[in-house]
């Protein structure tokens, strides 16, 4: 080999070394990024053999909020059995559970879920705004909502501090827990309930829906807050761990814990908000995976009697009137139950309560 050739070989080798390093780097990044989409790929692979054939198996990818996990995991096998009997197809489920807002962002950002089960309308709107839901999901049965609940207060066994209503949360020395509405979309229900109760009280006293009074009411309770966790689940975990005297959360969360044998008292406030949780087919993904029929059937099944009964057993208030009537004594009716419409709807809340420097911000900043 002459010197010139040897030089060339060395240039080649050293450049190769550089590129190898870079490749390793990129492969490393790629490996991590691929986790979420990989969940969707299985559905894609399963799809071609099954579309329209009525045989074989179909895989549904479910992106849900974490609180719905236990109930959904009981409903899925029931749906699989029914679908098998009806069409001969096996349905497999791939499930992902996250805080509702995180899940919505994940789906909007490319996690290929066929069905989205989220804790609030606004989160499903995020998926819709990403162009993934084409049909009007609100046009479905029950306005697209599969479960209801209300915001309640949970206390330690025997209610040692004598908490009777939501105003008691402002008493000195009461340690309150609620999650952070900025990180947990679902936590906005809790804040909405308190803010709305403030509006109701003002309305009863002066006849006006006084926003300033409601803000002061919210601030008086916020002063007693001990910890604001990332999600409703995290807040519940902290309460379970012994932090705080009262937790403001969904009724179904508390009922589920009590069903597991944890001793808490539920205090239903006299004025509180009705929570509604939507579910919808993510059209673009379902069509892409060729699982449209099964996805539609699954969402319809969630509205059906069997699924509604399971939801009720897990502490959700059913949307189906028959089932709701059966479980009526399990769910006390608050004196004044208002819905999101009383607060002007999610859009109005977004531009008033949760806006940049909005009411919630002013409460936090102590103004």
């Amino acid at each position: 080999m002459n010197p010139h050739n040897r030089q060339l070989v060395k240039i080649g080798l050293s450049t190769a070394a550089v590129w190898l390093l870079l490749m390793a780097l990129i492969a490393g990044c790629g490996g991590q990024g691929a986790v979420a989409p990989a969940q969707g790929e299985a559905g894609e692979n399963a799809a071609p053999g099954t579309a329209g054939s009525g045989r074989g198996s179909v895989t549904l990818v479910i992106g849900a909020y974490s609180v719905a996990k236990d109930a959904l995991q009981e409903i899925m096998p029931m749906f699989s059995a029914e679908w098998k009997a009806k069409t001969g197809q096996d349905v497999k489920f791939q499930e992902s559970y996250e805080a509702s807002g995180t899940q919505a962002r994940a789906i909007a950002g490319g996690f290929e879920a066929d069905v989205a089960v989220l804790s609030m309308e606004g989160d499903l709107d995020k998926v819709e705004r990403a162009g993934l839901i084409r049909d009007d999901w609100r046009a479905g049965p029950d306005g697209g909502m599969i479960t209801r609940s209300i915001v309640v207060m949970g206390t330690r066994q025997g209610n040692p501090l004598g908490i009777r209503d939501i105003e008691d949360l402002a008493k000195p020395g009461v340690k309150v827990l609620y999650p952070n509405p900025q990180t947990s979309g679902g936590a906005q229900w809790d804040i909405n309930a308190i803010y709305g109760a403030g509006l109701k009280i003002a309305e009863e006293q002066t006849g006006v829906k006084d926003e300033a009074a409601a803000k002061a009411f919210l601030a008086s309770i916020h002063r007693n807050v001990e910890s604001m966790d990332k999600s409703g689940r995290a807040s519940m975990a902290a309460f379970e761990y012994g932090v705080g005297d009262v937790i403001v959360t969904y009724e179904n969360e508390l009922l589920a814990r009590i069903a597991q044998g944890v001793k808490y008292d539920i205090v239903t406030p006299s004025r509180t908000i009705l929570i509604e949780n939507p579910a919808a087919v993510v059209d673009v993904n379902a069509d892409k995976h060729g699982v449209r029929d099964a996805a539609d059937a699954f969402v319809a099944y969630l509205h059906g009697e069997q699924a509604q009964r399971v939801f009720a057993e897990y502490g959700f208030r059913p949307v189906l009137a028959d089932v709701a009537a059966q479980f009526a004594d399990q769910f006390p009716q608050p004196r004044e139950l208002f819905d999101i419409g009383y607060l002007g709807g999610w859009d109005a809340l977004g531009s008033k309560l949760y806006a940049d420097r909005g009411i919630w911000y002013q409460v936090l900043a102590g103004r």
Partner: protein, 271 residues
């Protein structure tokens, strides 16, 4: 083999590999953050930075990081001194355990603090009876920061003490210096560069701590929300520009500190 590695082609290859690595992994993301914070123009950046909650988070973080750093300077210097100057059983084990906070996932640190100081832990129950709130309040954040940054000062002081000749100290005593005087005139000046650079690294690490703090702080904006958790909250609530603004503030602060560390060390070398 040595010849091969010394050839200038290899040197070229390694250098460009390192440069590329540096650019792709460090420079580009940092430029990206600065770009993001300016993406909506100056007024928006000023708006994001003048956010009361952002300021309160940053100031709280700086305040607690300073406290944590001071604690570490005292305990770290002592620990470094003890581990170098005294021989006792278990010293080797202790010495290797110093690095444990680096190796532990910070979430584990947070969990440990929760278990120890929480309402079910022994210390937490005792504090509760005494009317002091630790968990979810500032003390727990400081404990988390101290734990995570524990090794910095020790590891910066140790080599300085090792290379110091014991005869310097002995000479001071022989010449009639008191113990205190020996410490302040002979030992402390020798350790000072290490203490300073260790403290500054510990400080910038404490500013950045997330995993442990998010678990043990109440995370209430304006009260117990530190800057890193504030950034996380801004991203979660779809406000990347707000997150980037505070990130840039922290980043600039970290740069300043690293530059100071470099300056202190350069002065020490040049002495």
């Amino acid at each position: 083999m040595t010849n091969l590695l010394q050839s200038r082609w290899w040197s070229w290859g390694f250098r460009s590999a390192v440069m590329l690595y540096f650019v792709v992994l460090i420079v580009l993301p940092i430029l990206g953050i600065y770009g993001q914070s300016f993406s909506d123009g100056w007024p928006q950046l000023v708006h994001n930075l003048s956010d009361t909650l952002a300021w309160q988070a940053v100031l709280l973080t700086i305040k607690l990081a300073v406290i944590a750093t001071l604690i570490n300077v005292l305990i770290g210097t002592m620990a470094g001194w003890v581990l170098i100057r005294y021989r006792f059983p278990g010293r080797q084990l202790l010495n290797s355990m110093v690095d444990l906070p680096f190796a532990l996932p910070t979430a584990v640190v947070g969990l440990m603090i929760m278990l120890l100081l929480g309402p079910r832990g022994a210390v937490g129950q005792w504090a509760e009876e005494a009317g002091i709130s630790i968990l979810f309040h500032e003390p727990a954040i400081v404990v988390a920061m101290v734990f995570v940054t524990f090794p910095f000062v020790i590891r910066a002081v140790q080599p300085l003490l090792e290379e110091m000749d014991a005869s310097e100290e002995e000479a001071a005593y022989t010449m009639g210096a008191s113990k205190a005087k020996t410490f302040f005139r002979v030992l402390l000046p020798a350790m000072l560069p290490g203490i300073l650079s260790g403290a500054m690294l510990a400080f910038s690490r404490a500013l950045a701590e997330f995993g442990a703090v998010v678990l043990v702080a109440g995370n209430i904006p304006g009260r117990t929300l530190v800057a890193s958790v504030y950034i996380f909250g801004q991203i979660e609530s779809d406000n990347p520009a707000g997150a980037a603004a505070v990130s840039v503030l922290l980043l600039t602060l970290s740069f300043l500190i690293l530059w100071l560390v470099g300056y202190v060390q350069a002065r020490r070398m040049g002495r």
